[in-house]
Symmetry: C2
């Protein structure tokens, strides 16, 4: 029987991709990475933690903006090397640019066109 300890963190040098999906609408909100510490903190607290590759530290999603992700359901793929998190996105926006979803560029021909709901002004939240 597989358990939450059986994730294959070795394949990605200690990191697994984790997809966050709105638990009600099914909208895919973002993808970030988890190490073992982030995975354990997420399961323990019920709030999604990632590993920030740019800041090289454990990252409670929403720690600055307040836009925390409440874990409603966690799923693991057939190879135990990818996570799917069904979340309640507090504040209504997952993207640090203020959009509901990070996937706010739509491919139209050769172009990437902005196509997404802007929920907040990043300047007001992050002061920059």
């Amino acid at each position: 029987m597989l358990t939450v300890k059986d994730l294959d963190f070795k394949k990605g040098n200690g990191l697994l991709p984790a997809i966050a999906q709105d638990y009600k609408t099914g909208e895919v909100l973002m993808l970030a990475y988890m190490n073992e510490e982030a995975w354990e903190a997420t399961l323990k607290t019920g709030k999604v933690h990632y590993w920030s590759r740019s800041r090289n530290k454990l990252w409670l999603k929403g720690e600055t903006s307040g836009h925390v992700q409440i874990l409603k359901e966690a799923r693991v793929d057939c190879d135990q090397d990818t996570l799917l998190l069904k979340v309640e996105q507090l504040g209504g926006a997952a993207c640090h640019k203020g959009y509901r979803s990070c996937f706010h560029y739509k491919v139209e021909g050769e172009e990437l066109k902005i196509d997404g709901e802007l929920v907040f002004d990043p300047k007001e939240i992050y002061g920059k």
Copy 2:
């Protein structure tokens, strides 16, 4: 203006994660990786191509099983380092183990419990 040439393949050593999502139901089906060649082949043919990390080759999804993914919409995230593909999954199953979605393990307490729709018998499709 951003274009389809502006994906940041460098960050992941030439590979980007690509999430495949059912274009009608919103179900997340799988995550695999694309290099530049796979991305271009996907846009050109309208059939999803990945880069197989285990076989180290370009991989037309469904080339063996016939379970091709028809690209309905492609989206790119805020950092241009992750793809979201809305697809029509021919054959009804994305997972090589015969499940509709690769994310057929649900975390329940400490356990990973199988929770998914089995669409085909892998032995019949792959002969193994």
